[in-house]
Symmetry: D2
Subunit: 356 residues, 4 copies
């Protein structure tokens, strides 16, 4: 029996932290040995500190663990998955990188930083070497890797194979996002029951900026080292919150640079297999993009768990009478869009030898 | 005391029929004297025939009325409001026009017919004279007038003043539509609770075609009589169903023909007063378009009843980085989007002397 | 034109405070001249301090008012409606009574105090004179009157006429309570969407104790002055939260002291007219208890607004094979169960001459 | 490799039929070889006939199967799981028993028939021999076994160990039942979104009668053969529908025949292990009754999947001031309450040698 790599969870009591714990239960490579949360939780047993909100039970080993303060200590493992809100992350995550840790973060705080890779392993796993430009990495091997916003990740999965084959010029997207994306307590029930909220703070800007970075290219120059050049495309996003527990649904219109038929697009989705699939990363879905041909799919309740919550599900591909094509894409916002995304990043880092 | 104009309701037992009854209760001009529904209901007292689904009680006079069969009989008044589904309307509505009735219909069956006016009184009240080209009108004074689909009506209200001032070139719209739009029993709860259905049959085509007709112009030619020339604009719609009782919310991106500032757009909305307001039609809202400046509005639960359900509420006007502007518009789908729309059409016809 | 009685609202920014403002808009007797809330809100204009959550707009005069701190000042009117949470009320309400104000409170803080009347005007309006035993009243005319918990009020309305005619021995009640009962932000959407929470802190105890006090009798003794003797009945409550915006639905089983037929019970409900109806209090519903004979009623969405939210709606009266009868009762929790309840108490006090 | 026992599904396209297919996927003992549904579906491929409504995909082997008519034919296996509505079952199920099949039915049609066992394997597995009194069994080995209503099954699981140890005298129960209990299309969304329906046709009678039979005793007499003597207890049920997808939550008050402490009751639940656990039936949960000590549990969204949907989850045990104890019980209505119930019955029959 091979011993597992110890990992820590920063922000272990929140919605995404809970998903980390759920997804890492019986993980073949990683084992949680350290949990941290805010000062209010530090020192408590995990079940006392967290209002557990998932339909599976707290794993027994986790239930017996004490929550640490959110600072590196002698017991913090090298690899730390971080599920902090952006304000906390701004302060806390650099302290971990500074102390030599590999911070695999779900927060938005450093996603757009020049030297921080923003990664979807299927899309731009080749951007990972950007970490070598981080000052921490040079100093003591610490570094930081991020995954995109939950609303960007399903969309970019659907765009990536089309961008490779046909080039993408313009994208309209209107989202209908699940409440779990706002964490806990998050959205008050009085705001969302029987209602739509046509606004999520900063979300539209994130979708636009992150999509360009994710579909961009890592370029090397003798002078400046490597950096990411954004993809040359324009995205306009409308972000809405709806009364759905999990799963972000998005209506997309798309202008391509080269013409493509519906069949070619569906083939591009069906055939999309990438680094995580080749490397057989444990959390990688067999099929990253599933096309559903029924006219009324994808739907969050029925399709969010496809590929154990890691597949993006597309449907309703049809001509757009302004751009070229329109379609719907769905992905699970707290699995593929958060904890699962970071976990897959962690697995990629391990497979690429950055963590051992 | 002036005696009221008697009116009939076709399809009186359904969701829209019930709204007709609710809105016509104590109406200053009209009085329901005749109710009709399917053969299954004919002969029953109204409360036995209808599964009443509104939060106000069935008016006492209606509760005592018998439901007639859906065919003109000696007691059918001249003016008939019709709330039939499209298939039934296809057969039944012409029979009433043929018999000399003024059919004010909410159905999609004849909206796009060349000689049938498709009317939002604030937008294109001047299209009404198209009824003079109808064969029934020429024969015996019968005619047919329609109102648009519930998803088109709020959008077109918001577009109309902008189209007049700046010209509209292109529109992207993604809808989040309420369940009441599908009638009763309509959407099964197992399909929509905690879910989104990214599909409403035929809805996208209706939105696209009806918007062009509504914003078009009535032209007269010596040779052919009057006809509507569609507006020269392109619309691409994504229609979704969400778990909301009443109120359609729509995310809109807009390309104008002439540049406009945010202030100019909001002014155009604020100042929009039209025929129904001038004529003081009883069902006309004081302010057809209300702009809400709070960043998270409009919302269906909070804003659908503005102007007694007859105002469209706009919000979130902000630049679009593909087109010019984006915003959210909301309207009540069974009031402004159905029964209230037809009722306002009926009032316009009365004010213009087509009904007396 | 008669000038109106000025009133103040304590806790004006919360869910119940908003209902007070809505219900007092254009009230024939009362006029809001003073609004108070927590220190965080004090000094702000009302629309800046409150996250308004009702479907009607903030009245223009209120929108222009500044929020005061929650302490009596020179401008506080004699009559103050209080919508504070219990902890705040514990401190703040006595300070107002002490300063000579008439505090008409919706809070639970003093409901069970010996010298504080707990009033539903239709049920025990004759308990009001208990205020004369309050030290404040004796000192400077200040006093305090309370209304029951939102889950008790609909139930006790339904019980009162049965208690008078037949005597009530035992009651089982299981509630399905709306989210608005928990205020704002209140219940997180992640806790209640597609879910039931079988627990509301302290609610079951409140229902049991308040019901006995409400159905009790005011007795006078030369020695002790007046006091309330609890009704001799036993109640066992199960309180649940469900995904409903407004309206508490309750399943009730009932053991009477004297036999009654279904017809006698329904008659007792139908004929129930009391002090508020006789005095024609503006907020009093014409019919305090409405019996709906359809087998699937009452329902919160359809029936909560009966009698402008002030009627309790009963249905499904049928034999209980353990006790005598079972039925369902529904009432609007933030109107009849909170702001409307207090307002009716205020009107009763005015009609009885305690306020002028 | 041992070959599996072939089984058929009657009513394979409905909500419960789909659950049968899901639960039988990769079942260690049984293999679906025959699917039947209404005439409308007969002859179609399964995916064309069924509107699949589960979050897992249709298994590939099932997707390739044709749907048969609902009558025994040469290919119908001995063991048939039936998920028909009561009216259809009344006609169709006896035809299968008549033809020598073992009908394991979820329908209410024959549950209360004198010679038909109504079984929860943990509760009254010893009632199975009642099938020997069936005329079909005597003739050709055909027989019929049923499981209780979805609202009775969780309750009776919770009652059974208490009945054994302390005796149960009286039960009050108020249910909050999920929409999936009504099948598909079932409850219209307009009836249940943001609402409660305090009525489910015939449900209360079923709960009362089935509970007595399930907790009754099989007695043998030389004269009449075996029969079930109902338990001597009284139950009064209030059945409500709420906006929950899966999982029935029930508020229960209980009068015991012998006194019991809270600890004794929780022990009785914790220690409850029965026939299915001893026989290691594949679908049997390790722990049939789980007690959750958190004050706000059980909740349908969080607890319905415990024991793969086969455990009843109890919580909130507290004194009742009318009876002895009150508590909340939850169970998954389409797994433990329907398809899983029947499947466990089938497994019990196999383990007992009635099927091979």
């Amino acid at each position: 029996m091979i011993s597992k790599i110890p990992v820590g969870i920063l922000g272990a009591t929140g919605t995404v932290g809970q998903r980390f714990i759920q997804l890492l239960h019986e993980h073949p490579w990683f084992e949680i040995t350290w949990l941290a949360a805010s000062d209010r939780s530090a020192g408590k047993l995990y079940p006392e500190a967290a209002k557990w909100n998932l339909a599976t039970a707290i794993p027994a080993n986790i239930a017996a663990m004490k929550v640490s303060a959110a600072a590196p200590d002698g017991t913090t493992p090298k690899l730390v998955f971080a599920a902090l809100d952006a304000t906390a992350a701004q302060q806390i995550e650099p302290a971990f990188a500074e102390a030599g840790h590999a911070v695999v973060s779900n927060s938005s705080a450093f996603r757009m930083a020049e030297d921080v890779p923003l990664i979807i392993p299927e899309v731009n796993g080749d951007h990972v070497p950007l970490i070598k430009t981080q000052k921490w990495y040079k100093k003591n091997g610490g570094f930081m890797v991020t995954n995109p916003n939950c609303s960007a990740i399903g969309l970019v999965l659907a765009l990536a194979p089309l961008h490779r084959r046909f080039g993408i010029d313009k994208i309209f997207v209107a989202t209908m996002q699940a409440i779990s994306g706002a964490g806990y307590p998050g959205v008050p029930s009085m705001d969302i029951l029987g209602n739509v909220i046509p606004y999520i703070a900063k979300e539209e800007d994130k979708m636009e900026a992150e999509t360009r970075k994710l579909l961009g290219s890592l370029v090397e120059s003798a002078l400046n080292g490597s950096r990411v050049v954004d993809a040359d495309l324009t995205l306009s996003a409308h972000c809405n919150r709806v009364a759905v527990e999990d799963g972000h649904t998005e209506s997309v219109s798309l202008k391509l640079r080269k013409p493509a038929t519906a069949q070619e697009i569906i083939e591009a989705w069906d055939e999309f297999r990438c680094l995580p699939q080749k490397l057989k990363l444990p959390t990688a879905p067999e099929q990253p993009i599933i096309y559903e041909s029924a006219p009324d799919r994808p739907q969050p309740r029925l399709d969010r768990d496809r590929g154990r919550g890691m597949s993006a599900v597309c449907g309703r591909l049809r001509p757009c009478n302004i751009f070229d094509w329109k379609f719907t894409v769905l992905s699970h916002n707290t699995i593929r869009g958060a904890a699962g995304a970071a976990l897959l990043n962690g697995e990629l880092l391990k497979a690429q030898g950055y963590i051992s």
